[in-house]
């Protein structure tokens, strides 16, 4: 359990520092996140989208792996599927929250909306860390 918490904290700190480092990069003019006549530059959204894309892909790969190997993993420990199913429900809910929060931020890019988006991203990253731990620990805590 300690290992799990440590892994989650480590991953979260990596993503957090990642966001800070991304913010120091420059966005080439003409890009979707760059400044234009109608919008200010959105380096924070680039950092969040980039981290979301990575977390989503990791979860997607974990779910695909579990489904493709369900019979074998069920024989090892039925809890693997049960925990992954719980994460499927949680991840789907978080994805909806993220999509809504992102729409809200795009319509009104204020710090409060960015903070909400960041919080939702944190939940997806946590779900991702748990999915990896479930597979790594064979469904046990």
């Amino acid at each position: 359990m300690k290992k799990q918490i440590l892994s989650i904290l480590l991953l979260l700190s990596l993503f957090a520092s990642g966001c800070a480092l991304f913010n120091q990069q420059k966005l080439e003019t003409g890009g979707a996140y760059a400044a234009s006549e109608t919008q200010a530059a959105m380096p924070e959204l680039y950092a969040i989208d980039s981290s979301f894309d990575l977390a989503y892909t990791a979860l997607d790969t974990a779910f695909k792996y579990e489904k493709a190997n369900r019979t074998a993993l069920w024989a090892i420990n039925p809890m693997i599927k049960k925990r992954m199913d719980a994460l499927r429900v949680e991840a789907q809910r978080v994805n909806i929250d993220f999509a809504v929060a992102r729409q809200t931020y795009l319509a009104n890019p204020v710090p409060g909306n960015l903070s909400t988006l960041n919080q939702v991203l944190g939940k997806l990253q946590a779900a991702n860390a748990v999915a990896l731990t479930v597979i790594q620990m064979k469904g046990a805590n």
Binding site: F22, Q24, K26, E28, G30, Y46, T61, Y65, R88
Partner: protein, 77 residues
């Protein structure tokens, strides 16, 4: 060889089934880390690709489209 060991070997072999996804994910992690430590400019192409990809995920999510492996299936009997 124990049934547990056989099951684990099958699960490890199963990684081959999703090898393209694992490779795609590894490449994404590599790019993400490379981006993190480069102080360079994020190109228009990089920005637009990411924006379109995340937009598509959000659009599919809000319209209730779910990949098969994200759905909760009944437990195996």
């Amino acid at each position: 060889m124990s049934p547990q060991m056989i099951a684990w070997m099958s699960a490890v072999q199963g990684l081959i089934l999703i090898a393209p996804d694992v490779i795609r994910f590894s490449a994404k992690v590599k790019d993400w880390i490379a981006d993190l430590f480069s102080a360079g400019v994020i190109s228009v192409e990089q920005q637009n690709e990411l924006y379109a990809r995340v937009n598509e995920i959000c659009r599919a999510t809000l319209s209730g489209q779910l990949p098969d492996h994200w759905k909760v299936d009944p437990d195996p009997s």
